[in-house]
Structure formats: C-alpha cells, structure tokens
C-alpha cells in the first residue's frame, strides 16, 4: 500500500516538472552572460542561451527534450532514439569517438558530451574551434540530476531543470524508505551479466547497480567497485544470484545461446530459467525516465520471483 502511494507521488512530481517545462519554453531566454562549471571542472561561458545545440549523449538528448529545449537541438548521436521526435534531428555519428567535423558542420553554439577520456579530448578540440563544449558525468542518477540543473541554467529553463532534478533526487532518496528485508521477504539477489565468455558482470560503479538498490534488490557483485568487471564463472555460481539480468536491444524471443552452454548450467538461476531481459535503451544509461525504469524493473522482478 505504502509503495503504491510512493509511486504515484513520484509520477506526480514528474508530471508537474514536465508541465512546468512546457510553460517555461514559451518565454524568451533572459539576456546576459551565462557561465557554468561542467563535470570536468571546465568553466564554460556563453553570451546568451544557445539556440543550436548538438547533443553527443542519449541521456542529454532526453534531458533537453524534457526541459522543453528539444527544438534547439541540431545534432544528435545515432543512439539518441528517445523521444521519437529526436529521430528527426540529423545524426553526427555514434558519438563514441566524436567526429569533430560532423559536429562542427552543424554550426552549433553549444555541444554537450558525456564524460570520458575521449570526449574530454574532443571538448578541448571543439573549444579550440571556438565552439562551447560542456562535459557531463553520466554514471548515476545524481549525475543526471546535476546535469538537469546545469542544462536548465544553460538553456534558460532553470525552473524546469530544478524540478526535474528534484524529482530525480527524490527517486534516489526514496530507495532509503523501502521496507527492510525480512526473513519472509528477503532481498532478491541479482547479477547483471553483460558478456558470457569471459563472464562480465556489473559492479558497484554503474547505473544498473544503483537501479537494483532503488528497487530493493541486491547486486551480488556490489562489493566490486568497478562499473563492469570480468569474473570467473565459479564466482557467479558461488554467489548464487536468484536471477540474472541481461540487457538486450532487440525484441527477439530467443534467449541468448550461452544460456544453453553446459558450463552455465552450474548457475542455479540458469537452471531455473530465472532470467530478466531489460531493454538497453531505457536501462543501460541513467536518464530522465529513471522513474519509469525503476517501475518497470520492479515489475519484472516480481514477475520472475513469484
């Protein structure tokens, strides 16, 4: 009962944030210098709010649309598939190793990248070309909340940014209010398996691990600090997760081949066919749809573990 109420409250907050954004964007942006410090510690200053933005991150694309600044996007990556309106924006490549020329060809006044070694180099290159580039961390929900505020400030949609950030921070805080596990209702133990040979699982540094915490499940590899890590198959067997979570983008019905390999039969979750498949688009990266992800994940877990 309590959990249901909690969910509506969350949904309500988001709806309010989105509605507030809609009103905001019809106003003209305020004049004057806009200065922010991005997640790489770089200070980026703009004379006025940007009107031609290139987003090199799907989460940023989603955020910009959620803030009501989607009409100012002139470039996106091939991975930016949400919301559907984003697909009409020209792509500048896959964004993993940014194609500076393609980006510059869109004549942006702002480029937003997610934080990685390659992208920090790209940001520096763009700065040399005189194009403002902002780097945002994107590992956990708190990062998205911060990015919402930062992008809100940059695009002059501060109020929308603030309420979106508040909603996300509330989502994170809500996990601490979940009922503690009891002998009758132990925490569901999960392992996120990214690759099978060698077995690669998700550890504590990643968004998926955070999601597990938000739904009250326990990632059996939470003790490893890295985002993804190679482990031995016998480690998975000995940690004995109740179910395995796999990310897949396509909606094919056939489960991946490795589950039928003899050595994977040693994993109890494989023998019992307790596998949950999550869509990569929604679950692989944190973004403004986090609440939706949490709800969906919780639902799938309950289905798998009656």
């Amino acid at each position: 009962m309590r959990r249901w109420a909690h969910r509506t409250h969350l949904a309500g907050s988001l709806l309010f944030a989105v509605a507030a954004c809609g009103r905001e964007s019809r106003h003209a942006p305020a004049p004057g210098r806009i200065s922010v410090v991005d997640d790489a510690g770089r200070t980026v200053a703009l004379a006025q709010p940007p009107t031609r933005i290139v987003s090199l991150s799907p989460a940023v694309t989603e955020l910009l649309f959620a803030l009501g600044a989607g009409d100012r996007l002139v470039g996106r990556t091939t991975w930016c598939d949400y919301p559907p309106a984003a697909r009409r924006i020209p792509s500048v490549g896959d964004g993993l190793n940014p194609n500076i020329e393609a980006v510059a060809a869109r004549h942006p006044d702002l480029v937003v990248l997610y934080r990685s070694a390659l992208n920090e180099t790209a940001a520096a290159q763009l700065a040399r070309l005189g194009i403002a580039a902002v780097v945002v961390q994107q590992d956990r929900l708190e990062d998205i909340a911060r990015a919402a505020r930062l992008l809100g400030h940059l695009t002059g949609t501060d109020r929308a940014g603030a309420s979106l950030a508040a909603a996300l921070e509330q989502l994170v805080a809500s996990s601490r209010m979940l009922p503690p596990p009891s002998p009758g209702r132990p925490r569901t133990r999960v392992a996120f398996v990214v690759w099978d040979n060698p077995p690669v699982v998700i550890g504590a540094g990643s968004y998926l691990d955070e999601l597990a915490g938000l739904v009250g499940a326990a990632n059996v590899f939470h003790d490893i600090a890295a985002a993804s890590v190679t482990v031995g198959l016998e480690t998975i067997v000995s940690r004995d997760p109740d179910l395995l979570v796999l990310l897949r983008d396509s909606a094919t019905a056939e489960p991946p081949g490795f589950l039928r390999r003899p050595e994977w039969r040693a994993v109890r979750a494989v023998r019992q066919a307790r596998i949950v498949y999550l869509s990569g688009s929604l679950f692989a990266r944190p973004g403004p749809r986090a609440a939706e992800a949490v709800a969906e994940f919780r639902r799938r877990l309950e289905e798998a573990m009656p």
Binding site: V229, V231, G232, V237, S238, G257, E263
Partner: protein, 313 residues
C-alpha cells in the same frame, strides 16, 4: 630424473587448478562440489590440453621453418579465428557453439589460404614463405576484424575482443571431450615426425639424402600444427607465449632431439597453462585476469632462470 620432475609439475599444476579458486571449496567437499566437478576439473583439463597443443605445435613449427622465433600465432590462424568469431556475433548466430565453430572455421580458412600461398611452383612447401604468408594473412584478417568492430553499432562486437584475448571461461566437459577426440591425430602426427625434424635441421637436401621424405614431412607438420592451433584458438581465444617459449625452455633441459623434446613440450605447455589459469582465477579474485597475461608473467622468469642455469653450466 627430469621426466619425473616434469610429471610432478604436471600433477601439481592440475591439483592446484582443482583445489584453488575464487569460490571457497574445502578439501573435504572437493569430490562432491558442483563447482569442482562441473567447472574446475574440466577447466583444468582443458587448460592442460590447450597448453600442451600450443607448445607442441610451436615446437614443430620452429623445426619446420628452422627459426627459433616461430610461434603458432605466426600461422595467421588467430586472425582468421577472430574474424570468424566476429562474423558469427555480427550475424547474430545464436547457437551456444556458434563462437567456437565459427572461430575454428575462420582458422581453417586462414590455414588453407596460407598453405596455398606457401606452395611454390605448385608442389613444394617453402617454410619461409609460410611464415610470411601467415603474418600477412593474420594482419589482414585482424584489420578486417577491427574495421568490422569499429564500424558496427553493436556493443557485443566490442566484447568479442574480450574473447579474443584468450580465456578458458568456456570450459566444460563437452569441450574437453571434443578436444580429446580431435587432438590425438595431429598430436600423433607431430610426435611421429620427431626424427625427420631432426634431419630437416640439416637442410632439405641433406635430409632427403638421409632418407627423409621431406615434402611429406613439411606438409604433415604444417597441417598438424595448424589443426592443433586452430582448435586451441577456437576453444580459448588467442593465448600467446606458450607456443614460443615452452619449446625453448624444454630444449634447455632436454636438448634439441625432437624425440624427447616434443612430448616434454606438450607436458610442459599443459602444466604452464593450467598453472597460469589458476593464477588468473585467483590472483585478483573475485576478478579474473586474461590468461595470456599470466602465461607471460609466469613464463618469462622461469625461462630466465633456466637460461642462467644453462649458461652457468
């Protein structure tokens, strides 16, 4: 005496591989533990078979091309195997055996190409051209593979490189059985070629005069070494260093005669890989290291130790 020592090392390596691991299994539970029976034991045996195959193939190859720096990776097979594996992933072939079969097919394709290139004048195999062709084919397939992976959108293809770096994670009783059925013929062919390889060291014509059927020997040794390497790569990715250094280490102890050297190389390579895999599984538990790194880290000091003993005597 040396053989006794080698057998002790082999038994020790296998025992450690079964007893040690990231998951704690007490000695009392060893025989009943599912982890030991389904995972550790087949993995230890597979490591032994793969390591032995690579070392034996390496020794045969070094004799065939008359170059101590020869290594099974020069055959171009790893490149072909990688390309086969990446294609299987890219085409979304979902069978559990897709990867090893595709890698094996790729390796065989590379072998056929290199063999064809190595046939000069249509009849004789020139070992020097075999090596050059192997390097060329290997480089080409590696480039195509890298291009495929970097141009593709699928993240899975990037993970294919993890597999290629070599690892025995896919070990099961099925793969052990497969190798046990497959390997004896190429192994026997190589062991039988021991004396002709001694003769070949004198040169092709002197070897002919002494009674060796040089063309048949070259063909058989090349094909057997390639088949063993192809199977090893298909099952466990590219594990370097074993095929190059184990034969040399064994030569320091057994000399150059191939009759004792070839079986010693097999046993030594098997022990080295089993030991290396144990270290790979245990050293940074719960994480696992790529086994190719460990074979180098263990193999080099051992090799240097042997070298010093030899130069001192």
């Amino acid at each position: 005496m040396r053989w006794l020592g080698l057998m002790v090392v082999v038994v020790l390596a296998l025992a450690l591989a079964v007893v040690l691991g990231p998951a704690h299994v007490s000695l009392a539970d060893l025989t009943t533990s599912d982890i030991v029976r389904s995972l550790r034991l087949p993995r230890a045996l597979l490591a032994f078979l793969v390591g032995g195959s690579l070392a034996l193939a390496g020794a045969g190859l070094q004799a065939l091309v008359r170059n101590p720096l020869a290594d099974p990776s020069l055959l171009g097979l790893s490149g072909g195997a990688g390309l086969g594996a990446v294609l299987a992933i890219a085409l979304h072939v979902n069978s559990p055996w897709a990867l090893p079969l595709a890698a094996f097919a790729g390796a065989l394709g590379a072998m056929a190409l290199v063999y064809r290139l190595g046939l000069v004048g249509g009849a004789e195999l020139d070992p020097r051209i075999l090596i050059l062709a192997g390097v060329a084919v290997g480089a080409f397939t590696a480039a195509v593979t890298t291009a495929l992976v970097s141009l593709s959108d699928a993240a899975e293809l990037r993970n294919a490189f993890l597999w290629l770096w070599g690892g025995l994670s896919g070990a099961s009783w099925d793969s052990v059985l497969l190798l046990c059925v497959y390997a004896p013929l190429p192994v026997a062919v190589l062991l039988a070629a021991a004396r002709p390889l001694d003769l070949l060291a004198l040169g092709e014509e002197p070897a002919r005069h002494l009674g060796a059927d040089v063309e048949a020997v070259k063909r058989r040794v090349y094909l057997a070494a390639s088949l063993l390497t192809a199977a090893a790569v298909a099952v466990s990715g590219v594990i370097g260093f074993v095929g190059l250094v184990v034969p040399h280490a064994m030569r320091l102890l057994w000399g150059h005669r191939h009759r004792p050297l070839l079986p010693a190389a097999f046993l030594g390579g098997g022990a080295l890989l089993a030991l290396s895999d144990t270290v790979a599984r245990v050293a940074v538990a719960p994480r696992e290291l790529p086994v190719g790194i460990v074979t180098a880290l263990i193999g080099v000091p051992v090799f240097v130790l042997l070298l010093r003993r030899w130069t001192a005597s």
